[in-house]
Structures are given as structure tokens and as C-alpha cells.
Symmetry: C5
Subunit: 383 residues, 5 copies
């Protein structure tokens, strides 16, 4: 999946790319396993860029490769060779590497079928890891790419979707700068460093969503609107999606920790354990945010319920006070006549109308009725 | 269960067949185990069609069988023999096969009692698998059939309900075309290929439901209606149903992976592991869709609640403004008389009516009351 | 628990007996364990009927026993002896059998304390099983009884509550008819056959509830009423109850499957495995129905919410249109006088009343107001 | 916790004592472990009563102890010695026993810090059990006390809070009466008997709550009120509380069953297994009641929703019928004059008023309007 | 995290600090592992205070250290050395200690990256524990700090955030006072004592929240307001947060209990088991409180629903009674004339107005209508 720019101002839209990662790419049902189909961007297959970094504790050598034949020549067993492939538009590179490093065809198929569940598979010659990396691009959009890692004794191959940002850049900087112990270690440590970088990039994304939820919380308490519920719903979906990536990632790290194949050395395992703690903490965050989101949804519901209740109370109080009064004034608006058309007196028809203080009396009666009602409503705490 | 056409336009109706698969067919309670009862379609038992494919890496031979005696003759141990039975209307074929290949009577009963939970059972001579296949027919209806597989060293028997579409067709094409490694492998690989094809066919069905949910989501946010909730409810039921099929399917694949009976060769296990990943991913999808469906239900509830709230607010504002005004005009519609019928002056009865600017004054008073209320409602953010 | 007829037309009432089975019968707290207390029906202990069936592959002998001493004599070790006790009103029979077959006093106590959780206990001499059987009697009422089974090498004792229907009848028929393999097998197979019959009888009951729920679903979508929610609530309770019976039943079958005591022979275990699949499927059904019931409850809620919303909309539209109009006609019903009682002209008091087209003008104004409102409400999709 | 009488008529209040048991008594944070602090009732420490029962199969000896020194002397290893301490007001007795029987200080601390989670701890010399007993006192109030048991080869020490009722009384009766096997068995059987009595006393309490819930259910369906929801909420809390006591109690019994220390003899384990079944059944009951309570809450919600809907419907129907009619009569209450004050004819002003059948015509028109509305509402099933 | 005073009167605000602890401090994604970054308070790094306590059963020596070189000299292997560091503003101290005691760089990184999930890691030389301590400061605000413990054979290092209160003070007092067994034991017992003190400090915090919830419960039943729901929501969040701290703390204690590295001696394990029971009980409390909070939320919802229902009933009753009456008086307020302007008699126009008892009759009719409605509403239990 290539990085779509989607710089939308709408916070929900920022997560759209993440949602697209949901769908697994796959061939037609029943097709032969291990069939490699290139990714097409706008209908055409783009040539991937292949970059090689070779290093040991004494030096680093970086090269961009254009001719696949170059790959056949190099391979200094005292150095660590990191081959990075950017883009999934060409199956030839993968087939070539598959033959060169004896990679399983099913693994190569998984590299191309993006939307995979993160997993680890240890073979006799190498360890194969699929993970989903998530990061924010320059427009603050949350983007994601599938990353595949193969690493053996002294080589490491990474294949990623073509994207504008590369979560591996900090690791490259560390190799170049010779900082930390990365240059002294073997390919398994490089594998750890890359995995750690992938996991580390989840933190800012989660913090971003956390901040957004907290802001929403404040708004919600002040003035709930339907837009907020929709945004909340979107965040919930994003968290569901992130959980789908992180949960199996934890299993991946755990699988590496307990890997019996011997590809991971003991010193690296100490670091992986740290990595494992991070995935557990990420899960903790996701679950906590989900719980808060659910709590906010509930808060919203109760808020709306209470508002409806308040509105009803106002309506009921006003109606209850004025409707009887309106009835009373209606009574004295009736036209019962004091005499028949032919002049016969009808003294029982509305004699109140002809009392000297009739008007004042009825006004007072109505004031008393309204007053009593106000007192009752006050007592019932409806006011 | 035969494929019912149900080409209904109603999205919910498209899933009806799936719901019917819920019910397990079974004999009367307490009846003897392993009793075989044929399936009746429209009250009569249809003869099943029996098809045989024999292949090795050098060639393929396909035959339609009409006389069961033909089955006794053939059986070339260097080839893989795939016997496919379409239709459950005749128990004789099954009994014959049962004797010929030493199949357990309880397994044969499971073949006929459709609506089974997917399961795997490994015996000394063969592995027995029951699964539910789900696919879309030409009218876009979701259909389902029970499929049973028996496979031993070099034979494979599949029994399926009679249906218009066959999820095994792509595998047949691969055998005929000699593509991939299928022709070089043994019956266990064929078993894997068929199981994989069954699992692969769940993807388009799930994607279809996913797209439908996403469309519903957009509609729901714009204008919720009761029809949507019903559709949502139907989708939820369909997902519950699909989960009932996929969850045990995962156990089936897992059971095959850890099968100690030796029917599954190591190379096939590598492929089965891929298959296992697919079932896990399908489960992931189902759970995610269920979560989204629940979220939409909640969204709908909150949406209706908010709408009721809005409606109430409009009602309350209009009523609150006009009811007091109506009362006031009612007051001046009272007929308190300025003099008694016999001409006595009653100057206290509604003297306002005889003021030169009484009418204009009262109109202004009412405008002020309405204005004050509008300001209050504006402040309370009810407008 | 004896079978209560309860032929009520109310679907919920049909399940009442099931709910009663919830309560465990037990002695006063702190009483000595293994105390046997007979069941009283209408205050008196009814003598249980004791029936013996002895069979081997060559023949069947059935006898009704009246004198307990008869039990002492018989016991042909080459045959299977099935002693069936109907009714829990007499502890003497149980004590006698307890001594004769060396049954543990705690097991005998469990036989009498109905409402037990289904369980299996394997001792050195026999296997003890408690289960709850559920069936529909002739009046379509769902009834339940506790059944206890003891089986050793060549004897099987069943104790059940007195009921009008016996789930063991189909098995008796199979023994008499010599159908299937039952006559050739030992007591463990008979135990399996009885357990299988108990489990099989859950299917029609569950299907019955399933059909009822489906009918309710259709009604609910058309016209929700409070009665339906109550019925739904009753079904939910019944399902909770059934789950309480089936869930441990699964453990019972699983316990038998993995029984190390050697009471269960290998061929019977194959059948028990089939039995186990059935309990798993029953659980699946119960869980699915519970989920559907919850979904319906939710549907009902949303349905009521939407209906309230619709009712409110009608109220608001009608009120919003007529309240302002009523105010206007009220205005022109005011009695502001055109002249004072003493004849002074008051030309500013309601001059509209004396315009030639005043009436028609005001009617038009009101029509315009109503029309504008209708357009607004149409636009807001309230109509 | 001493037994508070709380004989309140309010069913919810009856459970108040249970809720108080929630809180664990504990010293100030960070204080030294195993510090013993006596319980104060009304600010003063009451002397506990110490009672000793010694028995073997030949006889029973009971004694009330006042001088702790007496404890030092007795201890016949062929008999079972049961020391029961009633009241936690004096730490001296506990310290003395602690030294005498080598009890761990942390265990003694747990005895005093009531509100403990039930647990079992097996040491080399004895088994230590903490449990919460729950019973109904004479005023039908639900009361609870913490009970601690220490039992070794031939001694058993019980420490309980001072209460008006003692769940151990039935066991004492059995020892005195020599009924059952209790007198022939060792201290482990006595321990079982006491634990069994504690567990048995949960049954009537749970049945009581069950009956109360069922009564509430009937009321709720007839006429829901807020009081019921509060009662329901209280029951839910009580069930939560009971679950907190029973769940770990199950673990206690399970721990005893699988105790490797050898304090529990095989024959007693058979009885403990029965005990275990009881705890599982109690859990079953608690969970079922909780589920029913949730179902009732939901029923209540839906009931209130439907009632609001009904109320709204009545309001809407009455308002919709009368508001237009009131408008019409308002129209003909307007005072548009047939002539100007100066006598000019205005024939267009309300000529209807001067039609011979105007009044009858307008009454008919209104009757038709009302009739049409009634038909519409009937059709919409609002009536 | 330093202790922020936040002495707000709002109960919810008191928990704000706790919510801040949610966020894990971490470096930029992809940075080298084990990078130490000092904590800045108000933009500047404060020097931490280093305090040393050395003790054995004979004496205690306490010292404040200012020069790190002092640390190099001391280390009496017969005594327990406790180095406590208050404040995370200076990485130099940590690096020095790391080299001196051979602490793993990743552990040191965890010490600085506050907001860690509590965890335990046992290395060959020491055990490393991270925990979150929670306590109430003098202003009753709930505060939290991350605490890290390293302990080996005879040394213990604690690093905590700078705070106004120190949960370790009670333990210091016990060391100084020589109370209990703390002075006789080794560093592992000191480690236990500190961990126990951390866990003990959760009790008052939880009790505080418990009391607050109970008070809220009483208020809620009397008069629900939106403020309460918000407070409830805050409590729920706080409980979620506390659970995030306690749940892994339980795993920490469990990890220590089953620690195979031999750093924990058997006698200490007895105490740790007590500690473990406390964490389980804390979890119990948190879960119970969460359940009660959810129950209250539900109670609130139902309360609001019922109130709306009551308000609606009042509105409906008043409207239903007065609207028809208002219509009737409106009818007799119509101006249908008894004669045309030109004096023609119109005897069918409202002849009731000219009946001698017309007014009284209509008043009676209205009284009857209102009376009948009152009876109906009484019967429907709306009054």
C-alpha cells in the first residue's frame, strides 16, 4: 500500500489510510499457492529501488543497485549485508533474491500479499518476519505499510511498500554514525533494531490519538454534538485496527524470544525482551484508550438523555402553568348571552362577567393557580 | 443443502441461505448411531453424480462413473485417485465406498447429517474432514454447502451437497493444467489444496459483507432509518454464522498441522501453516466486522437519541414562546362587561380595552416577552 | 422432579418446569454427608418401579421387580444387566443396590438431591454419571428430570425421576429389536447409548426455541410490544438454564473419553467422540441463540426509540404549525374596543378589524406561515 | 465483624452487613508484617471465649477454658482436639496458641485482619484455611463472619468473629450424637465437615436472594418503579460480594484436594470432592442470578422506554386532534367586524358567521377532521 | 514525574496526576536502545539526592552523599547497604552506579523512562523491579511516582522520582527502630519490605475511591445530575489506571515467588506470598469497584429514563385534560351571529348561548369530561 497523502483537516479522515490496511490483498480463491503478483500503482508496476548497506565495526558501505546481477557477486561473510527493497511493483527482484538466499515461495507470496497479520516464521536458513508499520507523514496523516524482514547469519533483507517516509531511517543513521553497539553486532541485532524502530513508531501515533480523545472528552462534557460521536466512532475503529497490528506483533517478538532455531543470539534476546515490554505497553495503551472511548460514548448517551429530560421539564412546566390559565380565560371568552335575542333575561349565563370586581378577581385566581404550580414544581425540583 | 437461488434484491435476503445452514440435520433422538438417511430434494432422492480424477506427474485421467462396480476395479497405487461425489440423495454409493475404503460408519453418518460443526478426525487408514464451504452464486446470493473429505495415502474422496457452483473447480483446473506442484504431490497435498480453496472462498464473501457494512455506515450517519437497523441485525447474524464455520475450521487446520498419524507429509505441513494463517486472518476479519457492527448499532442509538432531543427542543421553544402569548390574547378576549345588562357602569372590568393605545401596548408587551425568551433560548444553546 | 402438565398456551409458561430445575434439592446446612432423603410428591413417598433388562447378543429378558430380594439372585456375568429405577420416593431400593453393587453413599445422595450439576465420577468398580434430561411431553411442555447412571463391567443401573415420558425408550426398542451393535456390546456401550439419547433429546427442544425466536423476530420487526420483550426475556432465561445443563454435560462426555479407569472400551470411545461433537454443537446452538436473543433485545430498544422519535416528530410538526396560528386568531379575538363606553373613538385599537379585506388578508397570512413551516419541516426531513 | 442486628424491613438493607465485609481490615501502610492488633467492639476489646471438644470414637469431652495455662496440659494424641475461639478481641490467646502449635505469625495476622480473601496454605505441621461464612440470623438479616481453621494430625483450631449464630453448631451436634462417620475419623475429616457446613450455609442465602429476584421479576413486569431498580442494584452488589467469597472458596477446596502435604487422607478427599461440586454449583447459581438480574435491568429499561412511548402517543393523538379544532374555533372567535364603527358594510369580513347553517356546518367540518385523524391514528396503530 | 500539588476541591481533579502517569516517557522512535536522558523539571535538571543506609542486626548508619567518589569506597559485605536516589535529573549518578554494580544499560533506561509497566527482571547479579507507587499527599491529592529497585546479595538500590512524600519512610523507621525482623535479614527481605510498603499504600487510595463512590451512590439515588456522571466517569478512569498498575504488580510478586535465580531466600518467599495475596485482594477491590461504577452508571441511566417518563406523564395528563376543555370554551367563544347584519334571524347559530342554563350546563359537561379523564388516568396508574 502506497502512502496516500490525504491531508484532510477532519481528524477522522486522517485515519482513512489505516482503515484501508484492513483488507488483505489476495489472489483469486483456489489459485495455486506461492503465486507472485506485482503491486500496481495507478495501473502500472513501478520498478522498486534496491539499496545495499554492508558494514562491520570498521566501516560502512552503501550502494544503490540497478542491475540484479550485481547482487550475485557481493557477499562478504565477515560483514553484515542489509538489502533493502522499496516497492512491490516488480516480482523479478523477489524471485532473484528467493533463489539467491533460498527463501520459501510462500514467504515471498506473503511479502506481496499486503494486509497480512504480523507473524514470524523461523526456517533453517533464516527468520522471516512480517509486520505492519504505522507512522505519521508530513501532512500528519496516519500512514501504514507492510514490512517484511528476512535475516540469516550475516544478511538481512527488508522489503517494504513504497512510501514517502521510512521508519528505518533512524537505524540507518545509527549504522552510519557508528553510535551504540549496532556496528559491532550481527544481523540478528540489526533485525531487532529494525523491529524496535517499527514498534517505537507506534508510540507517537497512539499518543496522537490519546490527545485527540482527551480533547474530545472536554468538548463532550461541555456541549455534545453528533459530530463528536462520529469522530469517537472513527477513533474506536482506528484503535481496533491498531490492535489488530500490535497484538500479533507481540506474538512475533515473543516468538523470536523463544526461537529455538539459534538465529537469535543471547545478547540480542535481552534487547528483544525490552522490545516485548514495549509491545505489551502498547497493547495496554490501546486497551485503555478503547475503554475510555467506550466510557465517553456512555457519557454522551447519558448526556443526551439528561438534556432531553431538561428540555421536557421546561416544556412541561410552561405548558402546565399556561394551559389551565388559557382554559380559564377561554371560559370568560364564551359568548353565553345575558339575554335571548328577543330580550329575555338569562341571569344564570355567566353572571361573573357583570360583577364589579370580576376581572380583577379572575386575574387574582389565575395568579394564585400559577403560584401554586410554581411552588409544586419547585418542590419537585423541576425548576 | 442444495443451493437455493434466492436472487432477492434485499441485501439481507441474500444471506438467508446461510442462516438455514445453522440447523444440523439429524435423525430422531435416541436412534441407533451411524444410521444413513439420504437427503431428499423436493421429496425425492436424486442420484448423485460420481466423478473420478486419477493423476500423477505424467498425466490426468477424468471419468464420470455410473456403475458402482467400476469403482472396485480401478486403483493404481502410483497415482492419486480423487473420487468426487456430488449430491447426498443416495446412501448406496456411500455404503459402497465405506466398505471399499474401510470408512467408519459414524463418519459416513456425519457426511449425510449436514449442518455439522467443521472437524477433523484422523484414523489409521485415512483422515476425515468436515467443513462448510461458503460462496456467492451467479445471482450474488451467499450459498453454503457441507463438504466432507477423506484422504489416505493415495486416494481422496470428497462428498458435497449438490450445488450450482463448485469451489473445487480451480483445483481441478490446476490438476488439468499441471500448474504448480499439485501433480507432483500426493493425496495429502490435494487435500490441502481443496481445504485451501474452501478457505479462500470465504474472503470474497467477507469482503462483500465488509463493503455492505461500510455503505451502511455512510447512510447511517446521514439519515438513520429502521430498515438500516434491521439490515445491521441481519449482518450481525450472518457474521455470527460465519464465525461458527470459520472458528472450528481453524481448529481443523491446526489439528492437521499437529496430526501425529503421519498422513500429512512435512512439505504439505508448510502449506497448511499458510492455510492456518488464513483462517486466523478470517477470524480477525469476522471479529473486526462484528465490532464495527456493534459500533454502528451504538451510533444509531445515539443518533436517534440526539434526533429526539432536537425534535423536543424545537417543540419546547415554539410552545414556550407562543403559549404565554396565547394566554395573554385570551385574557383580552374575555367578555368582562364594561357595564351590567341593566346599564350599571363596571369601570374595573378590563379598562385596558378602552385605552387609546391599549392594543399597541399589548402587542409590544408580547413582542418583548417573545424576544426575551428567544434570548434565553439562544443563551441555553437551544437554538 | 415429576413432569408437571402445564399445557398453557403462553409460550413462556411452557418453560416454567425448566426454570424449576434450577434449584438444587439439599438437606439442612451442616447435616451429615451421604444422608438419603426420599422425594415426596404431594407430601407422600411413592414406591418406585424397578425394571430389569438382561441381554446378550442371543436374547433379551425383561422383568418388572416388586420384591427387592429378587435382585440378590440374578446376575449372569455373560449378559448385560440393566436395572432401571423410576421414581425417587423410596430410599430402601437405593440402599439395597448400594450395598449389592458397592455404590458410594455420596453418589447415592447425589441421585436423590436433584438439581445437580451434570458430572461424572469414576470409581474402581463403576462409573457414576449424573445428567439432566430435557424433553417435550405430549402437551408440548418442556420437562426435565435428573437421571443417574452407574455402570460397571456388565451391569448398568439408571435412576430417574418419575415422568410420563422416558428418553430411554428408543434405546429399549433397539435392545429388543436387536438393531445396530447394541446387543453385541458390553455395559459401557449401553451407557453411551443412554447418554447419547439424553443428548439427542436436547435437539428438538433447542430447535423449538429456535423456531419460536425466529417467529418472534418477524413480529418484533413489524410491531414491537411489551409482551414480546417479556417472552424474549423468558427465552433468554431458558437458554441460560439449558446452558447450565449442556456445558457440564460436555465435560461429562470428555471425562468419559479420557477416563483412565478402563471402564470404557476403545470401540465405545469412538462413539463417545461422536457424542462429544454433539454436545459441542448443542453449546454452539445455545450460544448462537443467546446472541440472537440479545440482538433482538437491542433491535427492540432501537425500534422503540425510533417510534418515540416518530411520535415526537408528528407532535412537534402539528404543534409548531397550529400554535402560532392559534395565537394569531387569538389576537383578533381580543376585545379592544373601537370606542370607550362613553363613545370616545379609539382608532388605534385593532383597526385591522374594520378593513374591508382584513379577514381574507389574515387568512392568507396564516396560510403562508403554515406553508413556510411545511417547507421547512420537509427540508429537515421531519415529514 | 460482629453480627449487627439490622432487622430493617427494606430488603436491600438486609444485605448491608454483607457489603461491610467487603473492606479488608489492615494496619497502617508500611507497618511491620505479622503485627497482631485486637478487634475492638464499641471501642473496647472483648475477651474471646475458648471452647475445647476432645473426641474419639468412644466418647466426647467438652470444656470451656478460662485460663490459658489449661491449654498447655491437655493434648491426647489418640483423640481429636478441637479448640474453638469465639471473638477477636484478645491477641494473647492467639499468640499463646501460635507458640503452642507453632503457627506462622503471618497466618495469625490474617486471622485478625478480617475481610480476607478465602485461601488455603499448607505448611509442614498444619493446613491453614481462611473462609467467609454467610448466614441469616434470627431477624433474617444476612450476616457474615470470617472463620480461620488450622488443622494438623490430631488437632483443629477454629477462630471466628463473635456472632449470635454459629454455623459450626450442626457439626457439634453430629460429634455429640456420634452420628455419621465423624467420630471415627481424624482431624482432617473434621476440617472437611466444618468447611462443608460453611459452604452449605450459602445455599439458603442464595435461595433467599433467588426468591427475592423472582418476586421482583413479577412486580417489574406489572408496574416498574424506581425503587425496584435500586433493589435490583442492591441484589447485584450482594451477588458480586457473594461471588467474591465463593470463587476463592472453590480454589480453597481444590487446593485441599490436590494438597501434596499429606494432611488430607484419601477417604476425606472423596468427601472434599463432593464439597468441590457444591462450590461449583454455588458459582453456577451466583452467575445465573447475576445474568437474570442483568436481564431484569434490561427489561426494566425497555419497559420504561415503551411506557414513555405510550405516554407520548396519547399526548400526540390528543394534541393532534384538538389543536387544529381549537384553531378553527379560534378563527370564528375573531372579531372582524361586519361594518366599520361608522356603519360602512364590510361584507367580506367573516360572512360565514351570518350563514343560517354556519354553526352546524363548522361543527360538522370539525367532526370530519377529528374522524379522519382518528382513522389515520388507528391505521398507524397509535390507538 | 514530580509530585504536582493540585489541591483542587473537585474530587475528579484530585486524580489528575494519576492520569498523567499513563503516558510512558520515551526517546524519539528508532533511537539507540539504552540511551539515558535526564528528567527536566521546569526545563532544568535538578541534582538528585543520594542517601545511604547501612545496617546489620547490631546497628544502623545513615549518610547523605554529595560526592559520587564516596560510593566507590564503602561496601561492607556483612552489612546490608541501601542506596536511595531521589530525583531523575542527573544521569551521571545512574551511570556511575551502573558501572559500580554492573547494572544492565536497558534497566537504567527503564529507570529514567517513567510510566513503565511494573515488571521484574532477574539477572545473575541482581533482581531489577519497576513499580508505580501511588499515595495521597498532604493536600489529599492522589500522586504517583515510578520506583525502581535493584537488589543483590547485600545491596539494594532504589531510584524514585522526586516527591514530597516517601512511601519508604515507614520502612526506614523500622530499620532505625530495629523493630521486627528487618535488621536481622538480608537485602532480599528489605526488597520485600519496600515492595510491601508500595502495595500497602494502594489500600488507603482505593478505600478513598470506595468511599467516594458510595457517597456518590447515595446522591445518585436521590437526585441524579450530570456532574455525577462526569465524576463517575473520572472514577472509572482512575480505576482503569490503578488496574494498569496493580495487575502487573501481581505478576511482579509472582515472578519473585517463582524466581529460580536464588536471589530470594525461602523465608522471604513466605512473606512475599502474603504480599501476593495483597495484590490479588487489591485487584479484587478494583474489579468490584469497577463493577459497582458500571452498576451506578446503569442506575443513573434508568433513573433519567424514569424521570423523563414521569415528566412526560405530567405533561400528558395536564394537556389531555385541558386541551379538550379549551376547545369547548373556544366553541362557545365563536361569534356565529343570532341574526344577520340586516336583522334576519338565524336561530340555528349557536342556540345554546341563549338557553337559560346554557353556561351552567357547559360547565358541568366540562367537569364531567375532566372527571372521566382523571378516572382513566388513575386507572392507567399515570397519576
Amino acid at each position: 500500500m502506497s502512502v496516500t497523502p490525504c491531508p484532510g483537516l477532519d481528524p477522522a479522515a486522517r485515519w482513512a489510510t489505516l482503515h484501508d490496511m484492513f483488507t488483505k490483498r489476495h489472489g483469486p480463491p483456489g489459485s495455486s499457492p506461492a503465486t507472485l503478483t506485482p503491486h500496481l500503482v495507478d495501473g502500472q508496476a513501478r520498478k522498486p529501488s534496491v539499496q545495499i548497506i554492508e558494514y562491520d565495526k570498521d566501516g560502512v558501505e552503501e550502494r544503490e543497485i540497478t542491475d540484479l546481477a550485481e547482487l550475485a557477486a557481493r557477499f562478504d561473510s565477515r560483514k553484515v549485508t542489509w538489502i533493502n527493497i522499496d516497492g512491490l511493483g516488480d516480482v523479478e527482484v523477489l524471485s532473484y533474491l528467493g533463489q539467491r538466499f533460498n527463501l520459501h515461495p510462500l514467504a515471498l507470496e506473503d511479502v506481496l500479499n499486503t494486509g497480512q497479520r504480523p507473524k514470524v516464521e523461523a526456517g533453517p536458513d533464516y527468520v522471516f518476519i512480517v509486520a505492519q508499520m504505522v507512522y505519521q507523514n508530513r501532512e500528519q496523516t496516519i500512514c501504514g505499510e507492510q514490512v517484511s524482514l528476512f535475516f540469516g547469519k550475516n544478511f538481512l533483507i527488508t522489503v517494504q511498500e513504497e512510501g514517502e517516509y521510512d521508519v528505518f531511517d533512524p537505524v540507518r543513521e545509527r549504522i552510519r554514525g557508528g553510535r551504540g553497539s549496532i556496528r559491532k553486532a550481527k544481523a540478528d541485532y540489526l533485525g531487532y533494531a529494525l523491529l524496535d524502530s517499527i514498534i517505537d513508531h507506534y508510540y507517537p501515533v497512539l499518543e496522537d490519538i490519546g490527545t485527540a480523545i482527551e480533547e474530545l472528552e472536554d468538548d463532550l462534557l461541555e456541549r455534545p454534538s453528533r459530530g463528536m460521536v462520529i469522530t469517537l466512532h472513527e477513533y474506536k475503529r482506528s484503535l481496533t485496527q491498531l490492535r489488530r497490528f500490535i497484538w500479533p506483533l507481540r506474538d512475533v517478538v515473543n516468538g523470536l524470544l523463544h526461537d529455538p532455531s539459534g538465529h537469535i543470539t543471547s545478547p540480542t534476546k535481552v534487547y528483544l525482551r525490552d522490545c516485548y515490554d514495549h509491545t505489551v505497553q502498547l497493547m495496554d495503551h490501546v486497551e485503555s484508550y478503547k475503554e475510555i472511548t467506550s466510557g465517553l460514548m456512555e457519557l454522551y448517551h447519558s448526556s443526551v438523555g439528561l438534556r432531553t429530560n431538561e428540555v421536557m421539564r421546561v416544556l412541561t412546566v410552561i405548558t402546565s402553568i399556561f394551559i389551565p390559565l388559557t382554559f380559564i380565560v377561554g371560559v370568560y371568552g364564551m359568548n353565553f348571552a345575558p339575554e335571548t335575542p328577543d330580550g329575555k333575561k338569562l341571569p344564570l349565563n355567566m353572571p361573573e362577567l357583570y360583577l364589579p370586581h370580576g376581572y380583577i378577581a379572575i386575574m387574582l385566581v389565575m395568579a394564585v393557580i400559577a403560584g401554586v404550580q410554581l411552588v409544586i414544581f419547585k418542590k419537585m425540583k423541576w425548576l
